[in-house]
Every structure is written in structure tokens, then in C-alpha cells.
Amino acid sequence: MDEMQEIIKAYVIKEYVEDDTELTYDSPLISGGIVDSFSMVSLKRFLENKYNISIPDDKATPEAFDSVNKICALVREYVK
């Protein structure tokens, strides 16, 4: 599953990091101000397209999206 961590981390960096902020799998994304809660939408859609899953809106909370590792855990719940 390391591959999933890398893919998600790379997407977050490309999408949201505009300077040379270092990102780890546990960096707080939303509470740390890297991803604004508005932009979670595209992250959710990216995951759904990439892993061919559907994440219910009530599961796509800022807490569940708050780090690469948390996102991986969420995605794994839905990948068949």
C-alpha cells in the first residue's frame, strides 16, 4: 500500500503546495492549512476516479482527510 501513499502525497503536493513546504504522510493537511476545506472536493473526486470508488459525503470529513495516512485508511475502506 506504499504506492497509494506516494500517489496521494504527490497529488496533494502538485495540487496545493505552492512553495517548498516539506510534506510527510502524517502532516496535518486541513488543520495545518495546506488544503483548504473548499478544495477537499477535488481531492475526493480524484480519489474516486483513481480508485474507482464512491466515498459518501458524510464520510468525507475534514478529519478523515487530514493527512495522507488518514486518506489512505479511508480509501481502503471502499476499495474492493
Partner: protein
């Protein structure tokens, strides 16, 4: 009494926190009409001081223009002080519709609806025209009032990096399955003074069949050859589906705003936009004033031409003095100081020199990008600008920032 000491304590603590963090906003009382030369009481109780104002949105110098003041007086005499009603009950006068038609013609759109303010226009428009089947894709630096409007709308929301057209295109592809897509941007961005690339945005919106929304509050009246706005500058008049603007800046400076664009979308606002349905519209004397402003601006481009040459003079002067400004050609000219305290110190010293300009710092602009935002007006004469330049040079010399690079300033003062 419900307002207990405990309750009061909660608020005093927050307010004290703002003061300690240097984020507490202190108002300055202006005792004169808005103009290049004003008289200010600051701090409260201090004797009045004559200063040159270089931080108003009074781009065209219309705020106290004698013909506009006269027209407002006449409007007051013929149409009264207020309507005591919202538009759809008994709050619509002939002059409200006249103004809507004049704005439509001026901006080159299909129809226009007035709002109490542009804040209200932005707050109400998205909810009125979009549903949960749609998506809004906004530039990451749009104005706060647009963010509020987006929050009030049930459509999905996504963002693109500031003015990054490739990123916007990726987002249009990502959301291509939605019923309607609406791309949202400011025409001129109020903090940096840069313009949205509307030619490219129109092209993308046509390719992906998306609606285009532009807030032209900091452009209407002076950007473009005849001052119609950013869409004129980029050659895309008639192609903006939803255009919002304010009458509180270049177009008079009093108050009021509007949504102008496709006639069905304007009609949707008339039927559904909550700030339109549930709040009184612009008062009659102000409507009469804005009508006069549009007459003046339609008859001659003198004022926007003067603004253009003043802006060129000002930008050149600041660069020659060795200050760092954001590149561009709009009358919003940020002088970059990077450090928040430095911005506040420079602002205070400029005031002592008779120049009124305000420091902006986090959270209004990103961390490490503190600045003094200067705004040029057709109401300025060259002697005003010369005096302001002298003050900037004197204060810049004191802080030893003239001719210094961004790195040097940050090394000395911190981010």
C-alpha cells in the same frame, strides 16, 4: 440579565487577543468629503490633520464630483429619501430601471439587476442560478464576498491556483460530468492589482461549455480603452455570462452593486436572490448620482485617461525611488515590505509626512507578503503624487529599504 460578566469576558478576551496580535483595526475619522485632500482625526481626539489620501477606491474621483453631488440633490428632491420597501413590493422607481438599463448598455451585457451592494450581489447570485447538480470553480484569490456567496450555494465547489489556466482546464475536465459548470474570478484582484486573463478564460469556458462569472468591482469605469472593464481590455465584451460590480468604488463611491449578464440569469436573481428579495435597494439620491456618473463616463474618457497617466507616473516614480512594487498597469499599486511590523511602521511614518496609506498584512494577504497598498485616482493631481513620492523616499531612506532586494529586506526585517 443574560449578558453576564462571564459572557462579556469571552468577548473581551477575543478582542484583547486581536490587539495583542497587532490585528485590531482602528478607524480614522475623516471630517471632510472623500477626495485627494482630506482632513483626518487620528487617533480619536487628536487635532485634525490635512493629508493626501492614496488608499481610497475613488479611482475616478467621482466621490465628491460637483455634478454627481448636484444630481444626487436633485434625485433627493424629485424621488425622495428612501422607499421603505424592498423592490418587489413597492420599492421600484422609474430611476431604478433606468439605471439598470444604463448599466447594461455601459457594460455591454443583456440585462442588469441592482443590489444593495456588490457584497449582496455576490452573496446572492450563486444560490439563485446554481443547484447541487452544478459545480463552481473559483480562483483561489477571489474576494471574500464571493467566498460567502459560494458558501451559501449548494453546488459543489472547487478551486484553481491563482490565474493558472492549465490548472483551471484540469478542473473543467475533472468536473465535466456536472449539469452546469461556473468559472469564478475577480476581473482585477484587489490585493495585488493584477488582472484575470479573461481572453483565455472565455476560450476555456467555450471549450468546456462553462459559465463565466467576473467581479469587476475594481475595474468598472476605467479598465479598457473606454473604461467598460476587464472584459473590454481583453476583447471579450458580450461574453461574460455573469458580471458583478459595485457603485461604491470607481462608479461614484457611494454604495450599491449589481449583477449584469445573460437575461435569464438576471431574471433568476430577480425571482430568487435573497439579498434582492429581502433588503431595500439603493436609495433614490444614490441612484440619481450613479446615473450621472454613467452619463459622464459615457460622454468622455477623460477621467479614465487621466487615471491611466497618473498610474503610469506613480508606478514609474516608485520604481525609480528603488521601492518594490507588484508589476502591472492597474491603479492598485502595492508597495511590498514583506514584514508586517515594517508595513505598519512605514504607514505610520507616511502619515506623519501627510500621506494616508494603510499597511496590509496576514491574514489579509499571505504571510511574508505585507505591503502598503496604494491606489491612484483621477482626482489626484501630479503635485499630490510628487508629494507622496517624496514621503515614500524619505521614509524608505529612514528604514534603508530603497534599492534593496526582497531578500535584503527580509534578511533585515524578517518575514
Amino acid at each position: 440579565m443574560a449578558y453576564t460578566d462571564k459572557t462579556r469576558g469571552i468577548y473581551t478576551e477575543v478582542l484583547t487577543g486581536l490587539k495583542n496580535a497587532g490585528l485590531f483595526k482602528q478607524e480614522r475619522y475623516i471630517h471632510s468629503a472623500q477626495a485627494a485632500d482630506i482632513e483626518v482625526e487620528f487617533p480619536a481626539g487628536a487635532p485634525l490633520k490635512k493629508v493626501i489620501n492614496i488608499c481610497a477606491n475613488n479611482y475616478l474621483g467621482m466621490s465628491s464630483h460637483p455634478e454627481v453631488v448636484k444630481a444626487a440633490h436633485e434625485g433627493l428632491d424629485t424621488h425622495g429619501y428612501g422607499m421603505s420597501s424592498v423592490r418587489f413590493i413597492c420599492g421600484t422607481q422609474d430611476i431604478h430601471r433606468t439605471l439598470e438599463q444604463m448599466v447594461t448598455k455601459f457594460l455591454g451585457t443583456e440585462d442588469t439587476i441592482l443590489f444593495p451592494s456588490c457584497m449582496d450581489a455576490n452573496a446572492g447570485v450563486f444560490e439563485a442560478v446554481l443547484t447541487k447538480d452544478d459545480v463552481m470553480i473559483s480562483d483561489r484569490l477571489v474576494h471574500a464576498s464571493i467566498i460567502d456567496g459560494i458558501r451559501l450555494c449548494s453546488a459543489m465547489h472547487d478551486t484553481f491556483k491563482h490565474s493558472d489556466m492549465e490548472h483551471l482546464e484540469e478542473k473543467l475536465q475533472l468536473h465535466n460530468d456536472k449539469r452546469l459548470k461556473c468559472v469564478i474570478t475577480d476581473g482585477v484582484f484587489s490585493m495585488d492589482g493584477d488582472t484575470a486573463r479573461l481572453d483565455k478564460m472565455v476560450e476555456l469556458c467555450e471549450k468546456y461549455e462553462a459559465l463565466l462569472f467576473v467581479d469587476d468591482s475594481h475595474s468598472s469605469g476605467f479598465i479598457g480603452k473606454t473604461g467598460r472593464g476587464t472584459h473590454e481590455q481583453y476583447g471579450v465584451m458580450g461574453k461574460i455570462d455573469i458580471l458583478t460590480t459595485t457603485f461604491g468604488k470607481g462608479l461614484g463611491g457611494a454604495s450599491g452593486g449589481c449583477v449584469s449578464g445573460r437575461k435569464e440569469l438576471v431574471e433568476m436573481c430577480r425571482q430568487k436572490a435573497r439579498p434582492y428579495l429581502f433588503s431595500n435597494t439603493i436609495a433614490p439620491p444614490v441612484v440619481a448620482g450613479v446615473i450621472k456618473v454613467l452619463e459622464i463616463l459615457s460622454a468622455s474618457t477623460d477621467r479614465r485617461d487621466k487615471l491611466e497617466s497618473n498610474t503610469a507616473f506613480w508606478r514609474k516614480g516608485l520604481i525609480e525611488a528603488g521601492l518594490i512594487i507588484k508589476a502591472g498597469d492597474t491603479p492598485i499599486v502595492p508597495v511590498m515590505l514583506f514584514n508586517a511590523k515594517l508595513a505598519q511602521d512605514v504607514s505610520r511614518d507616511l502619515y506623519d509626512e501627510g500621506i494616508y496609506a494603510i499597511g496590509f498584512f496576514f491574514p489579509v494577504v499571505p504571510q511574508g507578503q505585507a505591503r502598503i497598498r496604494t491606489q491612484i485616482s483621477a482626482g489626484h493631481e501630479i503635485h499630490h503624487l510628487e508629494k507622496a513620492l517624496e514621503a515614500f523616499k524619505k521614509v524608505g531612506k529612514k528604514y534603508e529599504i530603497l534599492g534593496k532586494s526582497k531578500q535584503e529586506i527580509i534578511e533585515r526585517y524578517g518575514m
